[in-house]
Amino acid sequence: MRKLFKSKIFIFGLILAVLAFGVMIYAFVSPSPTPISNLMGVIVTPFEKAVNWVGDGVGGFFAYFKGYDDLEKENERLWDRIAEYEQMEADYYAAISENEELRKLAQLKQKRSDLTFEMCSVVSVVTEGYTSTFTINRGTADGISVGDCVMTDAGFVGYISSAGLKSAEVITLVNIETKIACLVSRTRQAVVAEGDFVLSADGKLKLSYIKNDADLKVGDIIETSGAGENYPKGIIVGTVKEIKSESHGISQYAIIEPSVDIYKLTTVFVVKDFEITE
């Protein structure tokens, strides 16, 4: 044991221990950083910078590929979300449109409590020459029958010409086959609104059988009279735009602009039933 304490190795170890203690005490009493730690930092820092530079380069290289895969997946995910949002947007606008139509239906029901309505969507439109018809998405299964009046909150549209189980065809008021018994709202004068080959191209119809001395002015509102009990009374048909004499000179006729733009219809109401009022 004595030999150990006298050996050079022990003395060397003791010297190192004393040195280490000296460093500890110096570090304890001196402000940080000490000259020794500064020196170590000077030795180490350049190597650290080099390693970090290499590491960042290698990491960046592999991150490019990983980043590309991640970007591809993210891109796919975002496209799916865009499609989802586009669908939601379409549903939103459809809901707004339906809400608006339902609001009109509610107002109409309130205004015309004598009428029983069925709300329908226009699924196809045919306007070839003098034929002006469209198809709706309701039929006999929904209580619709041939001859039923079709309208919107703005006014008269037409009538049901044929009805299947889940669809029906509507002849519009500008169709050449249409004849509607009407009244001039202002004077309560009875007139007949009918389709005309020439006028139907412009979306207008003709008011016939007007006496030469009849009290009719441009701007007069024309409504259904309910005569014949085919259609309810009081539904706006259109406005007088022009008054002209017939070729034979005995009577005159007027050109009516419908209150409804039949070429922009998306939703209509079919009057399934109505109360006949005097």
Binding site: L16, A17, A20, A27, F28, V44, E48, N52
Partner: protein, 172 residues
């Protein structure tokens, strides 16, 4: 004689540079890793390998220098790691000269032992007594340190053995 002294000087520089490289690898932003709040420490393996393949003076001296390097990025007081690694290097080398054969397994085990004891002391005298850290968390940190340090530490032992043998061949 002069050539021998030059050889020893070069060896010291080589082992010193190796210590710097090991410190940079274990603590730089690009290569440093952590596990359960523990980080890698390759210096005990360096000192243990030097203790077996070189001599107590080399092991003690490089251990002292490695301890100073460790304090660069550590909150531990300067000199403490130097004290521990230097004493371990001298003592382990002395015991190796008396009882062991130079053996890679013993150098690895020596490194693991040095690391474990050092971490245990750090836990007991600092984390447990000062901060009241629980035994479980402390042992988890010790385990993390071993897991991170041992794989590369084994490589360090092999590197030291290679350097030592290279210089021995050159001397012959």
């Amino acid at each position: 004689m002069h050539k021998q002294k030059t050889g020893v000087l070069i060896k010291c520089l080589v082992y010193g540079a190796l210590a710097v490289v090991l410190l940079v690898l274990q603590s730089s932003r690009a290569t440093g890793v952590s596990l359960w709040t523990a980080s890698a420490n390759f210096m005990p393996f360096l000192v243990a390998a030097l203790a077996l393949y070189e001599n107590p003076y080399m092991a003690g001296g490089v251990g002292f220098f490695a301890g100073l390097l460790l304090s660069v990025h550590s909150s531990t007081i300067e000199g403490l790691a130097s004290f521990w690694l230097a004493i371990f290097g001298v003592a382990y080398s002395y015991l190796a000269e008396l009882f062991f054969r130079n053996n890679i397994v013993l150098s690895i085990l020596g490194g693991m032992g040095c690391l474990a004891v050092g971490e245990l002391c750090k836990y007991v005298f600092y984390y447990m007594l000062v901060h009241g850290v629980g035994f479980g968390a402390g042992m988890l940190t010790l385990l993390g340190s071993l897991i991170l340090s041992v794989p590369f530490g084994i490589l360090v032992c092999y590197i030291v053995r290679w350097i030592s043998r290279k210089f021995s061949e050159d001397e012959r």
